[in-house]
């Protein structure tokens, strides 16, 4: 029965970057579907709908801090059925010659090193159940790069390569690792980078709200995708088809 494969009720899911944007939307959908959701974020969640659900467990902390990652492990349940490694940022979008070493290292810290190390901590501490599913937020920019995105695209490209390798390492343990790659989504990342309405028109199906594109992550977290690992689910309203400049 397919319905059972899509069922996430009672499943323990960790979502990083859960305070806003796509992370918040996914966490909210998961609690509505009955999952036990552990939301981790740097900025505090307050007065938001998700706090009214008793199956939402909030853990505040900074992904890039070793100490906070340790505290996350302590506050975690015995094991997770799924992890959505969503926390990330675009950093400052600037041309190659203007990228400072600090900016470059910061963006790699947030988009590459911390999700890598967090997943390693979870795995070494046996927090990932056999049959569990890891979903990492990639981006179309991870493989389609344009002007002024070298730092961001580089960090996402590194994530793609490394996590495909991790998927091969963990397949024998029946732990799956997949990606979602988003195009334009109406989040702070778009606003902060002043993406023009004209550019948004390049996305054939338009620019969705975060709450409209949670389905892909939920499919990959569920047993409905139990035969999928190392794959990228592109959720980009068709923008990647034309290889148009991005961001």
């Amino acid at each position: 029965m397919l319905k059972e494969l899509f069922d996430l009720s009672g499943k323990k899911i960790l979502v990083t970057g859960a305070s806003k944007g796509i992370g918040y939307a996914v966490a909210l959908d998961l609690v509505k579907l009955g999952a036990e959701v552990y939301g981790f974020s740097r900025s505090e969640i307050k007065e938001q709908e998700i706090l009214t659900y008793s199956n939402f467990h909030y853990i505040q902390g900074d992904m890039t801090s070793e100490e906070d990652r340790k505290s996350l492990l302590e506050k975690s349940p015995e094991f997770y059925d799924g992890v959505f490694l969503n926390a990330g940022a675009s950093g400052s979008i600037s041309p190659f010659h203007m990228v400072s070493e600090n900016d470059l290292r910061d963006i790699f810290e947030l988009n590459f090193f911390s999700p890598y190390l967090l997943l390693q901590d979870l795995y070494k501490n046996k927090k990932l159940k056999s049959g569990s599913s890891i979903v990492a937020s990639s981006a179309i920019a991870g493989y389609l790069s344009t002007i002024a995105t070298s730092a961001y695209s580089g960090s996402k490209g590194a994530l793609n390569g490394a996590f495909r390798g991790i998927s091969a390492d963990l397949a024998k343990r029946k732990i799956r690792v997949n990606f979602v790659a988003y195009g334009y989504v109406d989040t702070d990342l778009l606003k902060n980078n002043n993406v023009s309405d004209e550019k948004k028109l390049f996305q054939p199906l338009g620019v969705p709200q975060p709450s409209e594109i949670t389905g892909g992550v939920i499919y990959l977290l569920s047993q409905a995708s139990k035969w999928v690992t190392g794959s990228t689910l592109v959720i980009d309203g068709g923008i990647g088809l034309r290889k148009v400049p991005f961001l």
Binding site: M1, L2, K3, L5, F6, D7, L8, S9, K32, L33, G34, R164, S167, A168, A171, K172, K174, R176, G183, P204, L205, P208, E212, I213, T214, G215, G216, I218, Y219, S222, A224, S225, K226, W227, V228, T229, G230, S231, L233, V234, I235, D236, G237, G238, G240, L241, R242
Partner: protein, 245 residues
């Protein structure tokens, strides 16, 4: 608690539905509340099942008989919200044994039937705006597999067609996606092939060979509203098979 996926009130056309993956997709779409029209050369499931009998209708069509497609589409009552195209023949043929007839048969079944069905559904306005089309392609469209040039090239063309059509129909919010599975354990494999299958599974598939339900679940997801910003993708499903990644 809310429900993740529903195909309630949706009319779904499943082409190549008589057995294996197609049958599982048809049953899955009905389970999710869809009204399913199954199309196959035989016009019924093999082996028979009465599951969701009131939600599933069977029709006979030979997709390689392209001149019959317009009248088939005209004979359908209401417009569709979903199309799944699974019809396919393997046409194993190392190049020194290649024959034109075999190549034509493979391309007619795996590719041309899809293109002309889409053409007629759109031309006769039998497909609703906002609908979703899923073509079952193959991992062989992406990697080199010994001895199956006709099959591989037909699936690669199917995957390419999906990308083009996704562009052409984005304005009408009709989505086109492909799924490219590696080896799936279907009832089409014979009794004497089971040991060979098990060996492949042990050697190359850490997550095991695929089950028809895995392909059905991905298809149902792509058909549903939950995937309504996904178009032009080709989802690789390979159970961790190393020579794929």
């Amino acid at each position: 608690m809310s429900e993740f996926i529903s195909l309630k009130e949706k009319n779904i056309l499943v082409v190549g539905a008589s057995s294996g993956i197609g049958k599982e997709i048809a049953l899955g779409a009905a389970e999710m509340g869809g009204n399913v029209t199954c199309v196959s050369r035989r016009g019924k499931f093999t082996p028979e099942t009465q599951d969701y009998g009131d939600k599933i209708k069977h029709t006979i069509l030979d997709v390689t008989d392209i001149v019959s497609i317009p009248s088939f589409v005209a004979s359908t009552n209401s417009p569709f919200d979903g199309l799944v195209y699974i019809s396919g023949i393997t046409g194993k043929s190392p190049i020194h044994l290649l024959e034109k007839q075999l190549l034509d048969n493979v391309i007619d079944t795996n590719l041309n039937g899809f293109l002309f069905l889409v053409k007629e559904l759109m031309k006769q306005r039998k497909f609703n705006l906002g609908g979703s089309i899923v073509a079952i392609s193959s991992i062989s469209a992406h990697v080199g597999i010994h001895g199956v040039a006709p099959y591989s090239l037909s699936k690669a063309a199917l995957s390419a067609s999906v990308r083009v059509l996704a562009q052409e129909f984005a304005r009408k919010k009709i989505r086109f996606n492909a799924i490219s599975p590696a080896m799936v354990r279907t009832p089409l494999f014979l009794e004497n092939e089971q040991e060979w299958l098990n060996q492949i599974e042990r050697d190359s598939y850490p997550l095991g060979l695929g089950n028809p339900e895995d392909i059905a679940a991905a298809t149902i997801f792509l058909l549903s509203e939950r995937a309504h910003y996904i178009t032009g993708i080709d989802l690789i499903m390979a159970g961790g098979c190393e020579w794929v990644s």
